[in-house]
Symmetry: C2
DNA sequence: TGTTCATATGAATATATGTTCATATGTGCT
DNA sequence: AGCACATATGAACATATATTCATATGAACA
């Protein structure tokens, strides 16, 4: 028997559901992970990250390399900054971006390896 | 010197950009990876996947467990089916969903481990 | 065959997100 | 001080996506 108002189903295994619910990861943890994956869900953002592997590039070089407008690159870099994925360094008029570390590359590669 | 119309920047390192461009991964590969990450960018979808680890559940059990409407669960399961992440089995009136394999769990855990 | 349970699905809605456009900020140079 | 280069940013716009609502489909059962 099932006494919920979400659905009328009678054949729910309540004990199993309770058990899974208790073992379920903390929602904040899941949300944090999802936010990271969301960063990696955009083609242009991933291409920016891949471009910054092993070197630093300035905004216009990224813009030129990836065929994106300067504004678009800048907006995406802001997301990557906020997510602590990239850092930057000012040199004269230019701002050079680079990866904070290689962890993000490894994660992308794990995604790439999935079912391939 | 730089002869592009994307930006007016003169200090672009053209040779470096060409080199990176040549080494850049195939765009289809990147897009495919991004699509996978996009699947994992939604909290409810990830919770469905985590719930299906080690067992099969029917739609209403998922709905009850995750406090989502039946319709919403069903829509999300469609995405997971289309991405080949889950499979299903019919038993009488119910449809039991389960993971195709554990690769997706491992990927989620990799994301969780990132900067933690 | 009519009813209930279980799930799927299309349309509508609200929200989130990426890009563009215009402009602001800031640096170096003449 | 004025100008060109380099980047950042807010607003507007278009698109994508998640949820809800209503309804369709389908199986079991009386």
């Amino acid at each position: 028997m099932c006494s919920n108002d979400l659905c009328e189903i009678k054949s729910v295994r309540s004990e199993l559901i309770d058990e899974i619910s208790n073992k379920m990861k903390d929602n904040d943890t899941i949300q944090k992970t999802c936010n990271l994956f969301k960063i990696l869900s955009d083609n242009n953002r991933v291409r920016i990250i891949l471009s910054l592997q092993d070197r630093e590039l300035c905004v216009c070089e990224l813009s030129l390399l990836l065929d994106m407008s300067q504004s678009s690159v800048s907006h995406q870099l802001r997301h990557l900054r906020n997510s602590n994925i990239v850092k930057f360094r000012k040199e004269n008029k230019q701002i050079f971006y680079s990866l904070n570390n290689d962890e993000i590359i490894k994660l992308i590669e794990k995604g790439e390896e999935y079912e391939s």
